[in-house]
C-alpha cells in the first residue's frame, strides 16, 4: 500500500472525482427530484421535504461571497488550519445550483468583500486528508 492510497476526504461524500487528482475534483451535491433543493455532499434524504428521490450533482467550481466574517481567534477543538494561527475569512459562498456553502476563504481576510467572485480550491493536508476552501478570482 502506498501513501497515496490513504488519502481521505475530510467528510465522506463531500467530493466528486478521484482524490488523487485534485485539479479534477469538485464538491458533491444532492438534488431532490421532488422539491429541487440542492444540498452539500451526498445525502440520501432531502432536509427540506424528506424526499428520497435524490440525484447526485457536481457543484460549480465558482460562486460569490454572500456573506463572510474574519475569524480572529483560534477556533476551539481539533482545528487543522495554519499553525501558528493566522486570522482567516469564513464565508457563505453562493453557488449557481441554488445553495450557499459555509467555507474558509483563502488569502488576506481583509480583502474579502460581499459579492466577490471565488473559486473552489481543494487542499491536501499533511495528514493526507483532502479539505477545501474558496479563493478570490478576477
Amino acid at each position: 500500500m502506498t501513501a497515496t492510497d490513504t488519502i481521505k476526504p475530510v467528510r465522506a461524500g463531500l467530493f466528486t472525482g478521484d482524490l488523487h487528482d485534485l485539479s479534477r475534483i469538485a464538491l458533491a451535491g444532492s438534488r431532490c427530484q421532488d422539491c429541487q433543493e440542492t444540498t452539500l455532499g451526498t445525502n440520501s434524504l432531502c432536509p427540506n421535504c424528506g424526499g428520497d428521490d435524490i440525484a447526485p450533482v457536481r457543484l460549480s467550481d465558482t460562486g460569490s461571497v454572500w456573506s463572510f466574517t474574519v475569524v480572529r481567534y483560534p477556533p476551539p477543538g481539533d482545528y487543522k488550519g495554519e499553525q501558528p494561527f493566522r486570522p482567516y475569512a469564513l464565508g457563505l459562498i453562493e453557488l449557481p445550483e441554488g445553495l450557499r456553502v459555509v467555507a474558509p476563504i483563502s488569502g488576506d481576510p481583509d480583502n474579502v468583500a460581499i459579492g466577490m467572485a471565488v473559486a473552489f480550491t481543494p487542499r491536501l493536508r499533511p495528514d493526507q486528508v483532502v479539505e477545501f476552501a474558496y479563493k478570490p478570482i478576477g
Partner: protein
C-alpha cells in the same frame, strides 16, 4: 383549559463559582419555593433545564431538598432548554395531571468558546467552522450590507445592556463601558467585538408553576400568568446560526424567532405592541438588533433605527434586556431562559428596584440557539 401561573421565582447569581451544580441549583430552587410559600413536599413534578451537566442532573440537584418519589426529568434544547422545560410544566398543569411543579435551570460551563463537539461534526471543527460567533457574525455582515446597519448601532446595544447590568446584582459583569471602549475592544469575528458578546458561565434560576386554582387556594402572593410558552425548531434553511454546512439560496423561510413569537402572540392574544418589557437572546449585540425585527418591534432592516431612537432603553417604549442581558450576565445555557423569566416576574410584580420598568404589566422572554432551537415565553401580571 386551566390558566397557569408562576407563584414563586428564585435565582443564583450568574458568574463563575467554586460551588457545584448541586449547590447553585438547589439554592435557586429553595429560593423559588420560599418565594412561592410552598414546601418541597407539595411539588408534584420537576423539570431541570440543562445542556452541559451530566445525565440525571435534575435528580442529583433536587435530591438535596429531600427524598421524594416525584418524577424529575432533564430537558435539553440547546439555548432554548429553559423554554422547553417551562413548556413541559405548562402542559403538565394544563392537562390536569399536576397542580404545582418546579422548573429549574442550572448550568456549570468551562471558560472560553464552547466545546464544538457538542454541536459540530469533526470535519467542520478541522476546517475552522466551529466557532459559534462566526455564524452570528456572518448574519451581521449581511445585515449591514443589505440595510446599512452600522458598527456604532451594534455597539449601542452592548452599551445599553452593560449600563443596565450595573443595577443587577445577579449579573456576572456589572460594569458600564463607554461606546469608545466597546468599539475599541478586540474583534472576535468581524464585526463582533469582545465587549459585544456573551460568555459561558455558571448559574441557576427556578420557578414554581401552578394552576390558577392552586394559587388561589394557597393565597399565592402576586401570581404571574404564563400567557404563552412556545418552543420551535427552525424551518428548513431558516437559520444559519445552527451548525449548517449549506443553506438554500432559493428558499426564504421565516426565522425561528419570527415563527415562535408569532405562535406566542397568537396564544397570548396580544402582540409586541402591547408588551411592556423584553429579555432576549443577546448572544452578541447584533443578535439583539435582529431580534427587534423578528419580534416585530420594528420592520425588517430597522433594528438600527430602534436603538438610535432609544426605544429599547430602560426608559424607552419597549425596554429590552433590563437585566443587562446575556452580554452582562453570561449564558449558563440551561439557566438562561429561567433567568429571563425571573427578571420578568420581578418586573411585573414591581420588585425590580432601580431597573424597574414603569408599570410593566406584560413581558416577553426569548432564547435562541444551536439547531435553530427557539423559545418565547410571555408573562402577564
Amino acid at each position: 383549559m386551566r390558566d397557569v401561573v408562576i407563584i414563586g421565582a428564585g435565582i443564583h447569581p450568574f458568574g463563575r463559582f467554586d460551588q457545584t451544580a448541586e449547590e447553585i441549583g438547589s439554592y435557586a430552587a429553595r429560593m423559588a419555593l420560599e418565594d412561592a410559600g410552598v414546601s418541597w413536599g407539595d411539588i408534584q413534578a420537576s423539570y431541570l433545564s440543562r445542556m452541559y451537566l451530566p445525565a440525571t442532573s435534575g435528580a442529583r440537584i433536587l435530591r438535596k431538598l429531600g427524598a421524594t418519589d416525584m418524577p424529575i426529568v432533564d430537558i435539553e434544547a440547546a439555548c432554548a432548554s429553559g423554554g422547553a422545560a417551562l413548556r413541559q410544566a405548562v402542559l403538565a398543569i394544563k392537562s390536569g395531571v399536576c397542580d404545582v411543579v418546579m422548573v429549574l435551570g442550572a448550568e456549570k460551563m468551562p471558560r472560553g468558546f464552547m466545546d464544538p463537539r457538542m454541536i459540530y461534526a469533526d470535519w467542520q471543527i478541522e476546517m475552522g467552522m466551529s466557532l459559534n460567533p462566526s455564524y452570528w457574525s456572518m448574519r451581521a455582515m449581511r445585515h449591514m450590507h443589505e440595510y446599512g446597519t452600522t458598527d456604532l448601532q451594534i455597539a449601542k446595544i452592548a452599551h445599553k445592556n452593560h449600563r443596565n447590568s450595573v443595577h443587577n446584582p445577579n449579573a456576572m459583569y456589572q460594569k458600564e463601558f463607554t461606546l469608545e471602549e466597546i468599539l475599541g475592544s478586540p474583534l472576535i469575528c468581524d464585526p463582533i467585538r469582545r465587549l459585544e458578546i456573551c460568555a459561558p458561565d455558571d448559574g441557576a434560576a427556578a420557578v414554581v408553576v401552578a394552576s390558577e386554582d392552586y394559587a388561589r387556594k394557597i393565597g399565592a402572593r402576586k401570581p404571574i400568568r404564563i400567557a404563552a410558552c412556545e418552543h420551535t425548531i427552525a424551518r428548513y434553511s431558516a437559520d444559519f446560526r445552527c451548525p449548517a454546512d449549506s443553506m438554500s439560496a432559493r428558499v426564504n423561510n421565516e426565522g425561528p424567532t419570527e415563527v415562535t413569537a408569532q405562535k406566542a402572540y397568537e396564544q397570548a392574544g396580544f402582540g409586541a405592541d402591547q408588551i411592556d418589557c423584553f429579555e432576549v437572546q443577546d448572544t452578541d449585540a447584533f443578535c439583539e438588533l435582529e431580534i427587534y425585527e423578528e419580534l416585530k418591534l420594528c420592520p425588517r432592516g430597522e433594528g438600527g433605527r430602534l436603538i438610535d431612537e432609544g426605544v429599547t432603553e430602560l426608559t424607552g417604549k419597549h425596554p429590552v434586556n433590563m437585566s443587562g442581558g446575556l452580554i452582562s450576565k453570561g449564558e449558563p445555557v440551561g439557566a438562561s431562559h429561567l433567568g429571563q423569566v425571573h427578571e420578568i416576574v420581578l418586573q411585573l410584580r414591581g420588585e425590580a428596584g432601580p431597573r424597574q420598568v414603569q408599570s410593566a404589566k406584560t413581558g416577553l422572554g426569548h432564547v435562541l440557539g444551536a439547531g435553530g432551537n427557539c423559545a418565547v415565553t410571555i408573562l402577564q401580571a
